[in-house]
């Protein structure tokens, strides 16, 4: 065992209350007291692990510090996927942080330290509910929930997929709750409090499952924290501060019947923190000795107020190691690396220690598959942790072609991670350099002259600030879009938007707004909702954000007035579910305002078909929705009609209706729309060829508006590899930075949906514009995205469409080409992409074989 105290990890001597190592092991966070606030700091792990990195001045030690907590930070925890950091503090708040990729180093204004932040971590959500200091936070397995506990005696469970939504509050403790731990299988959460109890709660109904008091009856409420821990096999729960015959212990609670027969004894003062090693170990096989099967065991570190640290193996009766006098004050928190061999410990005295173990000391860690099989043996398949990535690493490759693609992928991955891998990614592209061809310096020089100053009604000066950057750009889908940094902001969008906005307020339309169909059997009649009208005008103003300051200002000063053209007729459904087809049974569910991104509301469309679910996002509230067994159509408040395939692929680019839709009906491949302007259009979509009886995309300029209006999608818009009509049209108005900024605050799964929606729209637009090159380009990106995100249904539908029927029959209407591109050739290009993900190797093989078959014919 090696022991190191990196002296540079400090909060200027102030106490460090919490430490947590990032799941990828490259960095760690500390939380504690700052100068006059709470402080969260993120540190580089490399200088801890390697002496040469510590000495290398080019490698930053501190990556980021956040002073946003108003009072001491008691706990910092990384989410299991490593994307988020949650921190809880004495200011009663839980903050969730996310890395902002495209903002260069900065300092905290007015702080005494002049150290620049190398990485930018930005608070994406503040969770307010506790009425007292937050003592501990914990992410559930698979990051479904985030739990926080507080001195207000409660535990709050937050929906980690939809912050700041609260799932429930667990009440029952009668003292300060000071520690939380999730069952690794996700069935329970346990909490320990100053009320001399440890409680286990079920995650099924959030009721208390067990209340364990006996080992704690002698305890005094004397520790700052009570960080308990659950063993990685889920079989044991180990408490912090417990007493046995007036000696301080860490109580072992068995999952089976919550029995409390064993404890870790030896600390002279109360145990503050227990932390299980995330790995399960088995005895190291010595050379020569008979390989007798040994029982797997766990490893647990215990820290105490007596300033000592002990490490235990569940296979040994005595501790593996006890370290005294490591700190001057109580130990506050412990964190293991995911490899199970390293451990960080922090203390009230403001220092941190790193312990490095060897395999000889701890044993051989089980790999994820073995760990999974243990879980499956104990809890059955449904509850076992199925970390897909880990599982895939052990999947047998069944097809030589796949093997080839896999190897190619590994090679390129290695090439990418070659130089500079040890250093933190300080190369985050710096923004602020150029904006509309003007450097920030130029802007600053003329800012006083250029900034817009107006007088308010009461004669006061009002300055419109110059927006120099959108809030943030998360590092979304790096596998896909890692080429060019997206420059934020810019006002080039305005020229395109203006005609659209003005058309909105044309008097002719306003008059037609009043026209409403009296009744229609097909119409899922939306409940009238006045607030929606008001909100819809907000939706419009949100678009103005990217306009030049002047336009923006006038819009905002008028915000109190209702803009005439904007008041929508049909009020959007807020959340509704309909069954659109009996055979096969298709359910359609619409949830409006699922997320608010930079003022623009997103709606989610969920569809369940024969038990298969898909969902997609729309940039506006859904007014009416309908579907048949083959297609689904929805009309939105912004007068967009979207048509999807039964597997959720967008079939047509969004069609702009002249007036808001009031009724919608689908039958087989037909969509019928009745609009408020009293026009009836029928769209016939077969194999994505569009025949229009009335209004539809008449010319290219029309579809330009549609593309521009599809606002909330994700830009993959690195300088277009392909150039064609679509790129020409979008080149000017697809403002990547602005779009990206909308993503920053949305949860990961929303980002995925948005990306998907965007790609499908691009694909459909390219098709409509008959731009073959671009269609191919977007098709490949789309396929890659599906492969990365693991959306098998859509991928399969795509392949099926490209392959067409293997055996020719007169009945099929399949066209072998699209836009002059042979579909099967396209499939041949798509297949290698599919081959990169082992999960789809069956799909790959299936279509590879069929292609071969066709070629031989």
């Amino acid at each position: 065992m090696k022991l190191l105290k990196p002296s540079w990890v400090s909060h200027n001597g102030k106490p460090i209350f919490s430490v947590d190592i990032h799941p990828d092991g490259t960095k760690f966070a500390t939380g504690g007291q700052g100068e006059d606030s709470g402080k969260v700091m993120i540190w580089n792990m490399a200088p801890v692990l390697r002496e040469e990195d510590e000495k290398n001045e080019n490698i930053s030690k501190m990556l980021c510090q956040m002073d946003n907590h108003l009072a001491c930070v008691n706990c910092v925890r990384w989410s299991n996927n490593g994307l988020y950091l949650a921190s809880g503090g004495d200011d009663k708040l839980v903050m969730v942080w996310k890395r902002a990729a495209f903002i260069g180093p900065s300092t905290v204004f007015g702080s005494s330290s002049k150290l620049a932040n190398v990485e930018q971590w930005r608070c994406v959500t503040i969770l307010r509910n506790h009425t007292g200091d937050v003592m501990d936070v914990a992410w559930s397995p698979r990051d479904v929930w985030l739990a926080s506990c507080s001195v207000d005696n409660t535990i709050v469970i937050w929906n980690a997929r939809k912050f700041p939504e609260m799932i429930t509050t667990l009440r029952g403790h009668t003292g300060l709750v000071k520690g939380l731990t999730w069952d690794p299988v996700g069935k329970y959460i346990a909490s320990q409090a100053d009320d001399h109890s440890l409680k286990v709660w079920r995650t099924v109904d959030w009721q208390m499952d067990a209340n364990i008091t006996k080992p704690f009856s002698e305890c005094g409420g004397t520790t700052h924290v009570l960080r308990l821990s659950w063993s990685p096999d889920g079989q044991y729960l180990v408490s912090a501060h417990a007493m046995n015959n007036s000696g301080p212990t860490a109580q072992i609670v068995e999952r089976d019947g919550w029995k409390t027969n064993m404890d870790f004894v030896g600390h002279r003062k109360a145990v503050t923190v227990v932390k299980f090693n995330p790995k399960i170990f088995k005895k190291k096989q010595k050379n020569g000795s008979s390989p007798k099967p040994s029982c797997p065991y766990c490893c647990c570190a215990v820290g105490s107020k007596d300033r000592s640290l002990s490490v235990w193996l569940t296979s040994l009766k005595r501790p593996l190691v006890v370290i005294h006098d490591l700190f001057d004050k109580s130990i506050m928190d412990i964190s293991w690396t995911l490899t199970g061999l390293g451990m960080l410990v922090c203390s009230m005295d403001g220092t941190v220690a790193y312990l490095d173990f060897s395999l000889d000391e701890l044993g051989d860690p089980l790999n994820e598959e073995e760990k999974n099989s243990i879980h499956q043996n104990i809890y059955g398949k449904s509850l076992a942790i199925t970390s897909t990535e880990a599982q895939l690493s052990t999947t047998i490759i069944e097809n030589p072609e796949i093997l080839k693609y896999q190897q190619e992928r590994q090679n390129s991955a290695q090439a990418n991670s070659g130089p500079g891998a040890a250093a933190p990614e300080s190369s985050a592209p710096k923004l602020n350099s150029v904006m509309n061809g003007e450097s920030l310096e130029d802007i600053r020089k003329n800012l006083l002259k250029k900034q817009v100053e107006t007088r308010t009604a009461d004669g006061r000066r009002r300055i419109t600030p110059l927006c120099i950057a959108q809030l943030d750009t998360g590092d979304f889908s790096p596998a896909l879009f890692n080429s060019v940094p997206i420059l934020p902001s810019g006002s080039s969008m305005s020229s395109q938007l203006t005609p659209q906005l003005s058309s909105d307020s044309s008097p002719g339309q306003a008059s037609s707004m009043g026209l409403k169909p009296t009744h229609d059997p097909m119409l899922t009649s939306p409940p009238p909702n006045n607030t929606a009208n008001v909100k819809s005008s907000l939706l419009l103003t949100s678009a103005s954000k990217i306009e030049p300051m002047k336009a923006l200002d006038s819009r905002f000063t008028e915000r109190s007035k209702a803009t005439p053209g904007v008041t929508a007729t049909a009020s959007p459904l807020n959340s509704n579910s309909i069954q659109v087809s009996m055979e096969p049974s298709v359910f359609l569910e619409v949830e409006n305002e699922v997320s608010m991104v930079a003022g623009s509301k997103l709606s989610q469309l969920r569809c369940s078909r024969d038990g298969r679910d898909w969902n997609t996002l729309l940039p506006s509230s859904v007014v009416v929705a309908a579907g048949s067994s083959d297609i689904l159509a929805v009309a939105c408040e912004d007068r967009m009609l979207s048509v999807f395939s039964s597997c959720g692929r967008r079939l047509l680019p969004a069609i702009q209706l002249g007036t808001p839709a009031s009724a919608l009906h689908c039958s087989a491949h037909y969509v019928m729309v009745l609009t408020a302007g009293a026009t009836l259009s029928v769209h016939w979509t077969v194999q994505r060829e569009i025949v229009l009886l009335q209004t539809l995309i008449a010319d290219k300029s029309d579809s330009l508006v549609q593309c521009a209006d599809f606002r909330s999608c994700l830009p993959s818009h690195d300088t277009p590899v392909s150039s064609g009509p679509l790129a020409v049209m979008q080149g000017r108005n697809l403002n990547a930075g602005r779009l990206a900024s909308r993503l920053s605050s949305t949860p990961h799964h929303l980002q995925q949906s948005m990306t998907l929606a965007f790609l499908e729209n691009q694909l459909a637009s390219a098709l409509t514009l008959q731009s073959a090159q671009e269609y191919r380009y977007w098709l490949l990106i789309y396929a890659r995205f599906l492969v990365n995100e693991g959306s098998e249904y859509r991928l399969r539908e795509l392949c099926k469409e490209l392959l067409g029927p293997v055996h020719k029959s007169a009945a099929t209407s399949w066209e072998p080409t699209t836009l002059g591109l042979r579909k099967r050739e396209l499939l041949r290009e798509v297949l290698p992409v599919i081959g990169e993900n082992l999960r789809f190797q069956r799909l790959f093989t299936e279509y590879q074989d069929q292609l071969e078959l066709l070629r031989n014919k």
């Binding site: 108003l70 009072a71 200011d91 204004f109 004050k329 600053r444 006083l448 900034q451």
Partner: protein
């Protein structure tokens, strides 16, 4: 947490003659769209001894403020020399920049200002009417005090309008309630001490 973070204040036209307007280029970041304008003020402390000589040089509304990073230049006329005690015309005083949202002050940035004659002769024999001093703002050393305010609607006041900073040398605003409790977060060391 504050929705608005001040990222930087650049002091422009510094040092400059006393009669020149103050110019601060303020860069701030906003986490989400603000429903109301921010109000910025420049307060010149005429005399360190008494609040009664404080002059609000100007106040300005800044808006609309959508989420994002923004900057503007806040220019305000020089203080009225007639309102400054003669004894304080030369020497060190303070200029404050404050920002309020929904009439609640959430940040106060203080700069030390040194007024002195550049001419050695005048320095030796200061004239009665101190008009021609040079103003030098100590731009490198801002004192930032942040206050916890209620950013959501005015319906409920924060039950505890705690003042977070009081760092030893912070410039407490004349109108500001001093923190009623010892600075939060510095936990009493009770019972946590070890052997």
């Amino acid at each position: 947490m504050a929705k608005v973070q001040v990222l930087n204040v650049a002091v422009l036209d510094n040092p400059s003659p006393f009669g020149n307007p103050f110019q601060f280029e303020i860069t701030f970041e906003c986490m989400e769209d603000l429903a109301e304008d921010l109000e910025w003020k420049i307060i010149y402390v005429g005399s360190a001894e008494s609040e009664e000589y404080d002059q609000i040089l100007d106040s300005v509304l800044v808006g609309p403020v959508p989420a994002g990073r923004h900057m503007f230049v806040f220019q305000a006329d020089a203080p009225n020399t007639g309102l400054i005690p003669e004894s304080d015309a030369v020497g060190v005083t303070v200029v404050l920049i404050t920002c309020t949202y929904r009439s609640q002050e959430f940040i106060r940035i203080g700069y030390y200002v040194n007024n002195e004659y550049t001419d050695p002769e005048l320095r030796e024999n200061p004239p009665i009417k101190p008009d021609y001093t040079q103003r030098n703002i100590l731009a490198s050393n801002p004192r930032v005090t942040r206050f916890h305010i209620n950013w959501e609607g005015c319906t409920e006041r924060m039950e505890d309008c705690e003042n977070v900073d009081p760092s030893s040398n912070s410039m407490l605003p004349p109108s500001c309630l001093p923190g009623k409790a010892p600075p939060l977060g510095v936990l009493p060391d009770n019972s946590m001490d070890c052997l």
